[in-house]
Symmetry: C2
Subunit: 163 residues, 2 copies
């Protein structure tokens, strides 16, 4: 069984797959008469196809733990998908680039408090993987006509180890 | 000084001002081979004007406490603005309808764990008011050309009391 070790989630490491949604290091300016700070435009929101529009939704799922085994990937050919936890618990983001017409080697990223991700349109990723506790996520993705969900069952399960 | 008491945030009470972003009571279906649930399309995302596009940003501000006094309102004539906490702490949402060309009487709503709001385009609201602890919010609002921020200083400060 293929085994990988979870990596810390950083903007540079995640760049081939999408954007890290986090305040640290982002362009920012004061708002609200100086009482708060805006960290601006942290994700590339993509939505295409007939009657495309951005949706705001919530995903809720039971917490998982490491080591974590997965076999199912999905991707969304018509839009990006942002995952931002509504808690301070971490989560696991597993992704893959396309290679020879199917998902290539997996990489898995472990978030820290204050981080979300925006997964680029048509990028393979594992399903929601909350870690460590309560598990609601704010989701920004694409609504509209057409089939925006493609599934892929890997030939064998992969296991993600704690760093 | 005008004084109001914070109300619990409910979909029905908040309807004149926007939408409550919460899983409870929303249309939902299983995703991820039954391992999670999607609570779908919880907000009316509005963005209009030249080069309009949805932005994903983070707001960070220091926690406040009740009673809370405010005098500054703002509204966004070109788009809605969603506020979803990235923690389980509550926050205060103060809003007003337009009356005779200026903000009418204020109403103030206290959130509970798992709730965010989407404030409708052009609806008067107070500035970010985290309560009780760490205070990062995921914001979905409108980018593009033109001035999307209008401020209004109330003639006198209002005080919001705990329920």
């Amino acid at each position: 069984m293929p085994t990988i070790t979870a990596e810390p989630l950083t903007k540079a490491a995640f760049a081939p797959f999408g954007q890290v949604i986090e305040a640290d290091g982002a362009e920012s300016w004061p708002i609200n008469a100086g009482k708060a700070t805006r960290y601006n435009d942290l994700a590339k929101v993509e939505f295409t196809g007939q009657n495309a529009r951005p949706l705001i939704s919530i995903f809720r799922g039971p917490p998982q733990s490491l080591p974590y085994t997965l076999q199912l990937l999905e991707r969304h050919p018509l839009g990006s998908q942002a995952f931002v936890p509504m808690t301070e618990h971490p989560f696991l983001v597993t992704v893959a680039l396309e290679e020879n017409g199917k998902p290539g080697p997996l990489r898995s990223f472990l978030t820290k408090r204050g981080q979300g991700v925006n997964i680029s349109m048509n990028t393979w990723h594992g399903v929601l993987t909350p870690l460590g506790g309560a598990s609601e996520f704010l989701i920004v993705d694409r609504g509209g006509d057409g089939d925006n969900n493609e599934l892929f069952n890997l030939d064998e399960a992969w296991t993600v180890l704690a760093p």
